[in-house]
């Protein structure tokens, strides 16, 4: 693997991340011992941003894989492709990360089927290697390699959970939406908007989060608030921006729509 290829996985500019607690220090400690890390939290609360930030801070390449149900083990590890001369081996993202010593980030891991996730096991314990049985090769992970997974324990069904054998290979960080003041600060900084408007957005988001489990699977995420603020920056009226970015994406239920619309009007008079 050439240096140029490693280059593309490096993060050059600092991604904005507002620490909520001591998670940065905890992550650094885990990385120093190369412990695999699992990050749990609701959608749009900053899980992916945190990993990007840490990769930048540690100056390590980051390879992100968005998991889905159709993903197979060979999508992670690599596969033989046919070409004119017969067959050719192509490394999957996990294999590349293990070779070049990157942080491999498997986003929404539970979306992948359980038999797929088992291939990460040898990389996550003391062995730190990856057998490519089809190719007949055993890759010993680069000393810098680390595996990070994330998932959202909230909305997945009973069927979608991690196996105990997978869970127990990771150290875990639990994320949640930040406290109102912190979150307002994040929205203000991220979307370049005044702090007062940002706190109003947070107030609307909180009202939606109160409805979780009563018709809403997830509350309004920090990400959506940033979207709303960005719309406002482009001259969209505050109420319209909130309806477009905060209310309509999260529900089709007429009663909830009406309640949240009212919340928008009550906050932005």
């Amino acid at each position: 693997m050439s240096d140029q290829n490693i280059e593309q996985y490096l993060i050059n500019e600092e991604p904005f991340y507002q620490a909520q607690d001591n998670e940065v220090a905890l992550y650094e400690a885990a990385y120093n011992s190369r412990l695999p890390v699992m990050i749990k939290g609701p959608t749009g609360c900053g899980k992916s941003r945190f990993i990007e930030h840490m990769a930048w801070k540690l100056q390590k390449p980051l390879i992100t894989v968005a998991c889905n149900e159709d993903m197979t083990a060979s999508d992670l590890v690599g596969r033989y492709l046919l070409d004119a001369n017969g067959t050719r081996w192509l490394d999957g993202p996990l294999t590349i990360a293990a070779r070049i010593g990157a942080i491999c980030y498997l986003d929404e891991i539970v979306e992948a089927r359980q038999d797929t996730t088992v291939v990460i096991h040898p990389l996550t314990d003391h062995r730190r290697n990856l057998p490519l049985d089809k190719k007949g090769e055993l890759i010993n992970a680069h000393p810098d390699f680390q595996l990070v997974i994330s998932y959202n324990p909230g909305y997945q069904s009973l069927m979608k959970d991690l196996k105990q054998s997978t869970k127990q290979r990771f150290t875990a960080l639990d994320f949640d939406y930040p406290s109102a003041n912190t979150e307002a600060g994040i929205v203000a900084k991220e979307a370049d908007i005044d702090i007062e408007t940002a706190s109003k957005l947070v107030k609307i988001a909180e009202s939606a989060r109160n409805l979780k489990g009563h018709g809403l699977d997830e509350g309004i995420s920090t990400r959506l608030m940033v979207y709303a603020a960005q719309l406002m920056n482009h001259g969209v009226a505050q109420n319209d921006a909130c309806r477009m970015a905060l209310v309509r994406p999260i529900t089709d239920d007429a009663d909830i729509l009406s309640t949240l619309n009212h919340a928008v009007d009550a906050v932005f008079d």
């Binding site: 009202s207 109160n210 009406s258 309640t259 009550a266 906050v267 008079d269």
Partner: protein
């Protein structure tokens, strides 16, 4: 008025009752100012016609008194319309309705406001009269409509609640359901029966609480993070003393309906739902910020002042959280006009407090009264960067009352206009009374209550009410059917085992079949372009194709799929009396055959492991639909279930719709991919209180459609050889008619297997 002219008019009125003479002049004066010359002519002509009906002077008097106003409002053509209507009524058996009819006219014209609507109103009345006037053949007697006079007596109230269209629907319902039952018709039109009130509520204009309960619960949860138990009270029946919202330990009372508030141009200013939200936000604010204080220390005036300031305080605190509330509050708050109350002749206490409250709420109040402005200042000083407290409000209120007190405050004549703030609760939570009343009647009350609670505990499951579809009107009759669910009494389980023993051969064949049906958990899907694994056989074939210059098949992967059964089944047995019949050529009753069939089916389903429940139903009028629980989803096919099945008995009628809806409510709670409701019946839906055979068939059909929308597949097994006529109408293609009933035990399990296999 000119004596001569009056005399001339008096002669035009062909009616010689002396009683008219006293008021005639006044009536003519009014007619003179509001009617044209031609109008006056018609007016007197109409009154003469009313006089000619020969029912004394009263109708004429009412006509003379009311009609000038009505004609002014609706146009003069109504003068002859009304007199003609009175004349027509007098020529029918409904002469007794004339006085209430004339009495209702003023109110009706005021509510309806246009000639066109008024004409429709008259049409409605005559339509009702025609349909409900009865006659008994052979007796040559006609009976007046029992409902019409009662309806007319209630017209002011009804038109207050309903639009004309709503009134039409309400009347139609009564006419349709009680045409030949005078007492029930009377109950309906005098607003005494439950369905009368229910239909009234359904037709009511405005925002109904029941339609918006979930929305309001979500509102409380989302914006305030609280949950209330809300109880609606009726606003319609208390005209004099309007109930106001309040809350106590039992819950929050809110009005059952609120109209949108419209301005003069009919533009909606505040929606009904926002009025509910205003009420709830005010109550939440009280719950959050108010602390009760001792009432005995304050005079009544001081108390109302404290309540006003406390209301303003909690609202201000609520508006600090949600600034948008201010515009809603302002739109709902009355705007007292500053100098409208004369404190020399009437008590202005309410006016002063309403002004103070408005001045606090709306910065652009425009008042200049120094006392109010000063108190407002004190209020905002207290609230500056703090939440203040109820007791601080009390001290401000007391000094306000002391400063603005007038001798006239004690007057009985109280100024009420624009002082009622109807979204605020009545503040009973704010007061602690030290001296409780120790009247004897209170003890009695308590004893009575305790007794009542005990009684209620003894009863079994309360009835569940289901609506029923009326195909005539294409509408539901609300809460029409009462359904009682009970556990079926047990019999001897060995009977069922004996039945199964008898059919041992059939059971064995079934078992073989079922083993084949059992889910094979893992199924391989081959020939996939994308898959979890390379399918070596096809891959090599493709590779060979490729190397030899042919186009290779790209579908060289395979994947797996889980194939499991996930079915919930409900078997609903018709247990009506006809099951006791013995079909020709058989020695067993239909009930016994059904019992055998159900035993075999249960055995089969238990073997398959599907979720399965059994219930039986029968009915005796809409007031008693019996729903008997035989097997629940969590029960196994064991002795308890067998015992209940062994004891099933047939009796009464078949009101199927309610039973279907109730069964569906259980099935709906199951977690399953496919939901199947099997109905085993031997005839069409019928009940002894329904004369129209089509009614219950249509209701059942509607119930099946409802179930279909909920993702429940309904299938009917009918044992009536002549069922084809109606069963297709109800169940579409989802039915099977078993002509030879003795085959039922064999056919039922096979049917189930083919349905679900």
């Amino acid at each position: 008025m000119d004596e001569e002219l009056l005399e001339q008019y008096r002669n035009q009125l062909k009616c010689s009752f002396e009683q008219l003479d006293d008021t005639f002049e006044d009536c003519m004066l009014e007619a003179f100012t509001s009617l044209s010359d031609q109008g006056i002519k018609n007016y007197l002509k109409g009154a003469s016609l009313v006089c000619m009906i020969g029912r004394g002077f009263e109708p004429v008097l009412v006509y003379l008194e009311e009609m000038p106003q009505v004609a002014k409002l609706l146009g003069e053509s109504c003068l002859s319309t009304v007199s003609q209507a009175v004349w027509d009524l007098s020529r029918s058996p409904n002469g007794n309705s004339i006085p209430p009819f004339l009495n209702s006219i003023a109110e009706a014209s005021h509510r309806l406001g246009s000639e066109e609507l008024f004409q429709k109103y008259l049409d409605l009345l005559f339509d009702l009269a025609e349909k409900t006037t009865g006659s008994i053949h052979g007796h040559h007697t006609t009976f007046p409509s029992p409902g019409l006079p009662l309806l007319l007596a209630n017209v002011p109230y009804l038109l207050n609640q309903l639009s004309l269209e709503g009134l039409q629907n309400w009347v139609d319902y009564g006419v349709r359901n009680y045409p030949d039952h005078p007492e029930r018709q009377e109950n309906y039109f005098s607003l005494q029966s439950a369905d009368s009130k229910a239909i009234l509520q359904r037709e009511h204009h405005g925002t109904l609480f029941i339609d918006n309960e979930r929305k309001l619960n979500l509102y409380l949860m989302a914006l305030w993070n609280v949950k209330f138990y809300m109880i609606p009270y009726s606003t319609g029946f208390d005209e004099l003393r309007k109930p106001v919202p309040y809350f106590d330990k039992l819950g929050v009372r809110v009005p059952d309906v609120l109209d949108d508030i419209v301005d003069d141009t009919k533009k909606v200013v505040t929606k009904g739902i926002d009025r509910y939200r205003a009420i709830l936000s005010h109550i939440v604010a009280h719950k959050r910020c108010s602390t009760p204080i001792i009432a005995d220390n304050f005079s009544p005036f001081q108390r109302v002042a404290i309540e006003t300031l406390e209301d303003s305080r909690v609202e201000l605190l609520a508006m600090r959280i949600y600034p948008g509330l201010r515009s809603i509050y302002i739109s709902l708050h009355p705007r007292p006009i500053e100098d409208d109350c004369d404190n020399k002749i009437e008590s202005c206490i309410r006016h002063r407090l309403a002004m103070l409250s408005y001045a606090i709420l709306n910065p652009d109040h425009g008042y200049s009264n120094p006392d109010i402005l000063e108190c407002r200042e004190r209020f905002f000083a207290a609230m500056h960067e703090s939440e203040s407290s109820t007791s601080e409000m009390a001290s401000i209120a007391i000094s306000f009352i002391a400063k603005t007190r007038r001798q006239t405050d004690q007057l009985a004549k109280m100024y009420f206009k624009d002082t009622e703030i109807d979204y605020r609760d009545e503040n009973r939570h704010l007061w602690i009374y030290i001296e409780l009343s120790d009247d004897e009647e209170m003890f009695e009350d308590r004893k009575h209550q305790d007794k009542k609670e005990e009684e209620e505990e003894d009863k079994g499951l309360p009835p569940r009410h289901y609506h029923e579809w009326d195909y005539n009107t294409k509408s539901y009759r609300p809460d029409w059917v009462s359904l009682y669910e009970t556990l079926h009494p047990p019999g001897n389980p060995a009977d069922i085992d004996a039945l199964l023993e008898k059919h041992a051969l059939l059971a064995k064949r079934l078992k073989q079949l079922l083993d084949l049906l059992k889910p094979q958990q893992y199924v391989r899907i081959r020939y996939q372009e994308d898959g979890s694994e390379l399918d070596l056989d096809t891959a090599i074939r493709s590779l060979i194709d490729f190397k030899s210059g042919h186009t290779p098949d790209p579908r060289i992967n395979m994947s797996h799929r889980n194939d499991g059964r996930d079915i919930a089944v409900m078997l609903l047995l018709d247990l009506s009396a006809s099951l006791n019949e013995t079909p020709p050529g058989s020695d067993k009753t239909i009930l016994q055959l059904s019992q055998e069939a159900v035993s075999l089916l249960s055995y089969a389903i238990e073997h398959l492991g599907d979720q399965f429940a059994i219930a039986g139903f029968s009915s005796s009028t809409r007031h008693e639909v019996r729903y008997q629980h035989i097997k629940g989803y969590s029960e196994h096919w064991g002795d308890h279930v067998k015992a209940r099945l062994a004891a099933i008995e047939a009796g009464y009628s078949t009101r199927m719709g309610a039973a279907l809806r109730h069964a569906a409510h259980y099935l709906g709670n199951c977690q399953a991919d496919k939901k199947l409701l099997l109905v085993l019946t031997d005839g069409e839906p019928a009940d002894i209180d329904v004369n129209d055979p089509k009614l219950l068939i249509e209701d059942t059909r509607k119930a099946v459609q409802e179930l279909d929308q909920d993702g429940i597949y309904t299938f009917c097994i009918n044992l009536d050889p002549h069922a084809d006529e109606y069963v297709q109408n109800i169940f579409g293609k989802q039915f099977l008619v078993i002509d030879k009933v003795e085959q039922l035990p064999e056919k039922l399990p096979y049917l189930f297997i083919s349905l679900t296999g």
